[in-house]
């Protein structure tokens, strides 16, 4: 039996000299980014979707994950795709967006895309943060009870993610989020942000806050309306795909 869940495998599609490195969200899987990856591969780009540690295996693994592990996973992915491409664009969803922006502040990239990326986590996470490490040893998982924000119910059925969220994992996302906020002013590469007004996880004003904090002069903010949080899978994914394709095309000067 494979350790990685069926459909949870990372992917790497051969293509041209332009590489797109795709980073999924919490507690999701590379599957979230696969349709986008296939779309970019069809445009000719080399596309790699990494798997973040603790994801797409067993929820217990995610209780042992630290945000530094995820940054290291991104570095792994970057070195792989860098072996095949001369220009690399990073594209992340939610947690993947935080990792993307944090990475973009440290490594020269030709561009970065962050989708549905939170500026901050809900206040309850901040209040629990001082006690969450011991607390997470006894209260290991929470089962989300928030209403679904998916608009494409067929795509929702295919969504691969853990139905439970490790408390410790949430606190790691919180710590990374703080890192991300302080890194934004150091980003110099072109950035595009994509959000949905229908996202029930990330409030719309987070988009403006990240946009304002970005150090780069080359920044754009795009919106969709008829999608939930999982932008590259939900109803308006085609619009998201073409926004990203146009961005990759523009920043790499590569004819699709």
């Amino acid at each position: 039996m494979s350790r990685i869940l069926d459909r949870g495998e990372p992917f790497f599609y051969p293509g041209n000299d332009v590489g797109c490195l795709l980073v999924h969200g919490f507690p999701g899987a590379p599957e979230e980014m696969r349709w986008l990856g296939e779309h970019l591969a069809k445009q000719g780009y080399t596309t790699l979707g990494i798997r973040l540690f603790g994801h797409a295996t067993h929820p217990d693994d995610l209780t042992r994950a630290r945000w530094q592990d995820w940054m290291a996973n991104l570095e792994d992915g970057y070195h792989w795709i860098d072996g095949a491409c001369s220009q690399v664009v990073l594209i992340g969803l939610s947690l993947g967006g935080m990792l993307t922006l944090n990475f973009a502040s440290k490594t020269p990239l030709v561009g970065a895309v962050a989708m549905a990326t939170p500026w901050e986590l809900p206040p309850i996470v901040e209040r629990l943060r001082p006690i969450v490490h011991p607390l997470s040893k006894v209260w290991r998982f929470r089962t989300p009870s928030e209403p679904s924000d998916w608009r494409d119910k067929e795509a929702e059925k295919l969504h691969l993610y853990y139905p439970v969220q490790p408390l410790r994992g949430i606190s790691e996302v919180y710590d990374l989020n703080a890192e991300m906020r302080s890194s934004l002013k150091h980003i110099e590469c072109p950035v595009t942000l994509i959000y949905s007004t229908g996202d029930l996880t990330v409030p719309t004003d987070h988009a403006q806050q990240i946009y304002a904090a970005l150090g780069t002069q080359d920044k754009t903010l795009s919106w969709v309306e008829n999608s939930g949080h999982v932008l590259p899978r939900d109803a308006e994914r085609e619009k998201v795909f073409s926004t990203i394709t146009d961005f990759v095309h523009r920043v790499t000067g590569d004819a699709p």
Partner: protein
């Protein structure tokens, strides 16, 4: 600042239709597979080197890791390489060899190379007796410092990128991985090349014989090298190891297709 130790980065060399998946050993990093990777790439093959989870970052990350995490890292590499080639040869050093064998018992591979791979826990005094209580001990006993390197090529030893200690919990995971591997070996059927040094002071060459005898493969061959300690991909006999591995991999190249 990066999370990965300088020199411990993963690597990918695009090439021909034969893909080689390279996996390093316990407490080490992709660095110990890098030269073998560049050699195989120069022969025209596609090469991907993975970093095992918990390795090449901080020692406390390794102490947090479990052996199935390491296996998942190898599986990641397998899936990444898949679209770049028609055939996959898994090449693993020591623990990386064991993980390659465990994966090859489940996922289709076209060939296997193990280098200095262990079959059982090495005969370190008291290790077998202490093994069951290592997880408990690891909560208060600090990692075991490594001694000075014993190499035949001391220059090569200097460029090594690795942790300088063994977390006790990880020693337990190493043993648990071996326990998982042994009954799976009969399910491995791909052609196999096994290389071991007669001068390996850590894992005895008899371990290679045990793996060889347990493998389900009909095509399997053992090669002994000399004048190298355990790290045969970097120590004095590395050219012998590269040559044997290259000629094994080259047989998978389809000509005139």
């Amino acid at each position: 600042m990066t999370m990965t130790m300088p020199g411990a980065e993963t690597f990918f060399f695009p090439g021909g239709k034969v893909g080689c998946l390279l996996t390093h050993g316990f407490t080490a990093t992709p660095q110990e597979m890098h030269e073998l990777g560049t050699r195989l790439a120069s022969q025209g093959h596609t090469i991907l080197g993975v970093r095992l989870f918990g390795h090449g970052t901080r020692l406390e990350d390794m102490a947090r890791s479990r052996w199935p995490d390491w296996l998942a890292s190898v599986e990641d590499g397998y899936h990444l390489l898949r679209k770049w080639c028609d055939q996959i040869i898994v090449i693993g050093f020591s623990t990386g060899g064991c993980l390659s064998l465990i994966m090859a018992a489940e996922l289709p591979v076209d060939g296997i190379v193990t280098l200095s791979a262990p079959y059982q826990l090495p005969s370190i005094p008291y290790l077998k007796q202490l093994y069951p209580i290592l997880p408990a001990l690891s909560t208060f006993v600090p990692p075991i410092r490594k001694g000075p390197p014993v190499w035949y090529d001391m220059e090569a030893a200097k460029s090594r990128v690795q942790y300088d200690a063994y977390p006790m919990r990880s020693v337990y995971e190493f043993g648990a991985m071996l326990e998982d591997m042994r009954p799976r070996l009969s399910k491995v059927t791909a052609p196999a090349l096994l290389i071991h040094s007669l001068d390996d002071g850590f894992i005895p060459p008899s371990d290679m014989q045990h793996i060889h005898d347990s493998l389900g493969s009909t095509e399997k061959r053992m090669v002994h090298v000399q004048n190298s300690n355990h790290i045969i991909t970097c120590d004095a006999a590395r050219e012998d190891v590269f040559r044997e591995t290259e000629s094994f991999v080259t047989q998978f190249v389809k000509h005139g297709a």
